[in-house]
């Protein structure tokens, strides 16, 4: 994956659970494709199992989970374990959106999801360009 034409990596994207806030993840997908990634976009309302099997099928390098409805706390834990079970050890997990209801401190939110096995957690005011840059850095070389 280092040639200039080859994709920079394969990413599975989607909104977890019952979530329908699709605009944010749609434009991320657009930006990531433009930056040279292969994106398997699962869209709204994706279950953990769907994320995992899409990642297996596409031999994905990472899963990008979006969650805005405030239920990430209930819907995300367990995903890392399911990945491990499916043989996706070490696959990078990214999480972003408006994760929790109530005004918890960002550090606490971040820590909570990192503990659940997410590699990088993003707040809602992150710039699209920042996400792309981070992913490029993570998959450099």
């Amino acid at each position: 994956m280092s040639g200039s034409e080859a994709p920079k990596g394969t990413l599975v994207t989607g909104l977890i659970g019952e979530d329908v806030h699709i605009a944010g993840i749609r434009i991320l997908e657009h930006a990531l494709r433009k930056a040279g990634f292969d994106v398997v976009a699962l869209g709204a309302q994706v279950s953990q199992d769907e994320f995992v099997s899409a990642a297996v099928e596409s031999r994905a390098d990472a899963i990008l989970v979006s969650s805005l409805s405030g239920h990430a706390d209930a819907l995300l834990p367990g995903l890392r374990e399911k990945c491990d079970e499916a043989g996706l050890q070490g696959i990078r997990l990214y999480l972003g959106g408006q994760l929790m209801i109530g005004d918890s401190r960002w550090e606490d939110v971040e820590a909570k999801f990192k503990e659940a096995g997410v590699d990088a957690v993003y707040p809602p005011d992150v710039q699209v360009a920042q996400v792309v840059a981070d992913l490029e850095a993570d998959f450099a070389g």
């Binding site: 329908v20 709204a44 706390d73 209930a74 005004d103």
Partner: protein
């Protein structure tokens, strides 16, 4: 079985009803006749449709605030604070999205966890969980009409529970719940479910209790108005056939005053025309305008300012209901004080602008209205044509080929070819009209408007511009040049 726009027979309705009420154990608490009697004990001041009809008559503009929290005590407290400190005229109670997607067990766990920890793990009020008796206590705590809010492919049990518990209006509609709140459910299914919802309201109406659906054609995220208007008309015709006599049509403010206000005038006009054309002559339409529905600025004061501007447009558009979001919209489910404060701000804007009967530049308004009406008719006429006069049969076919479409849809069956973008003045135009059946006048109008922005920036308007536009307001401006 193809769904057609025909009144549900009593047998069919009764059959579905049994199924619906057995979805969760609390369904058994709903008794239609008892519910009608209960609703008749409520004063007209608490009936949504009656208050809106009155507002239409007197020119009043009512404020509405939507809230939804998992605890019934806390939800009651919210409503009281909104009524007393927020001078709120109409209450929306948002149902959590786990209940909406029939994840009753998960919702129950989240309620239990919320109660145990004192933190909230559910994004709304789980009406099905609480059931009739408890929810009647909630609705009994305030003296003004309540609406049960949320959109879901299958809203039937929630609606049964809500109407039996003192709510007299409901959000949701068949096309929006298909296109924006589900992923694989086909349009036939959501429309069939909404036929049931409208039929239920129609039966309350016949029993002497007017019940009002608030119909929205989609969401106001960078979406040209006619796309939303057309879907609204579809649902209005479905509702009318099921005996609904009072409907509120929703316009989503998107930031350009002229466009927003014109939408508030164009939508009821065109909807009225189609109702008349298809023989539904005794329907009372009202209009509700929502607050800004894109991404909000994080700063609560900027957010409040944006909300106030939406209210200005809504008053210019002479709507009956102004929906007021809160200064914490970008951040979280709002606290009750922030909610009441935002309502007070909204109310003074209503009063100040209404007092002066503000009118915008007539030429700009006329053009905008005329175009919205023409675009909406182009779509709806085509839908009717495809359905050989049946709006539902037409809608199903039209959706398949993208004659009915949505921007940023969630459902895989939506064509999703339409793309909206702002013009130089921040009005939302068709960057790509996909398969919409538009003639050259319409297409040239949009092309022209977009090219004004292109000349101004000296560069092309494309999908990257759409991405910029999605952050409008949240980054401090309406149009990035």
């Amino acid at each position: 079985m193809a769904v057609a726009n025909k009144r549900l027979s009593d047998e069919e309705f009764g059959r579905q009803r049994e199924e619906v009420l057995s979805m969760w154990h609390t369904g058994a608490q709903v008794d239609f006749d008892e519910a009608v009697e209960f609703n008749k004990t409520l004063p007209p001041a608490k009936n949504y449709a009656r208050q809106l009809a009155l507002a239409k008559e007197t020119g009043a503009m009512l404020t509405r605030s939507d809230t939804g929290v998992p605890s019934v005590d806390e939800q009651t407290e919210y409503l009281k604070v909104l009524q007393e400190e927020g001078q709120c005229d109409l209450f929306g109670v948002i149902i959590d999205s786990l209940t909406r997607t029939h994840q009753y067990q998960a919702a129950e766990a989240a309620i239990e966890k919320s109660h145990r920890t004192g933190e909230w793990f559910l994004n709304g009020f789980p009406v099905v969980h609480y059931g009739v008796a408890t929810t009647r206590k909630l609705t009994g705590a305030v003296g003004r009409p309540l609406q049960i809010r949320g959109v879901a492919p299958d809203w039937r049990l929630i609606l049964e529970m809500g109407l039996a518990s003192g709510f007299s209006a409901s959000s949701g509609a068949g096309f929006i719940s298909f296109s924006q709140f589900s992923k694989r459910v086909p349009l036939e299914t959501t429309i069939r479910n909404y036929q049931y919802n409208y039929a239920l309201m129609g039966r309350y109406e016949e029993a002497g209790v007017p019940m009002l659906p608030e119909i929205s054609g989609g969401v106001g995220v960078l979406t040209p108005n006619s796309l939303l208007h057309a879907a609204t008309v579809v649902d209005a015709l479905v509702a009318a056939e099921q005996g609904v006599k009072n409907m509120s049509l929703m316009v989503h403010t998107q930031g350009n005053f002229v466009q927003d206000a014109a939408a508030m005038m164009a939508l009821p006009q065109v909807c009225e025309e189609y109702l008349h054309q298809l023989g539904y002559d005794d329907v009372t339409l009202s209009v509700v305008a929502t607050s800004w529905s894109g991404k909000f600025p994080e700063d609560p004061y900027e957010a409040l300012a944006a909300i106030c501007l939406g209210v200005v447009a809504s008053v210019v558009g002479r709507v009956q209901v102004v929906h007021v979001k809160t200064m914490q919209e970008a951040v979280t489910i709002p606290g009750k004080e922030a909610n009441a404060a935002s309502l007070r701000a909204g109310k003074i804007v209503v009063n100040m602008v209404k007092d002066q009967s503000l009118e915008l530049d007539h030429d700009a308004m006329d053009t905008e209205k005329r175009m919205q009406v023409a675009e909406t008719k182009a779509i709806v006429d085509k839908v009717l044509e495809m359905g050989e006069g049946d709006i539902i049969l037409g809608a199903v076919k039209a959706t398949e080929v993208g004659v009915l479409d949505q921007v940023f849809a969630t459902n895989q069956h939506v064509a999703g070819k339409v793309i909206g973008v702002r013009d130089l003045k921040g009005a939302v135009r068709y960057l790509d009209h996909g398969s919409l059946p538009f003639g050259t006048e319409i297409l040239e109008f949009h092309r022209e408007k977009i090219s004004e922005r292109e000349s101004n920036r000296g560069g092309v308007v494309d999908y990257d511009t759409v991405v910029q536009d999605l952050f409008a307001i949240s980054t401090g401006t309406l149009v990035q040049h």
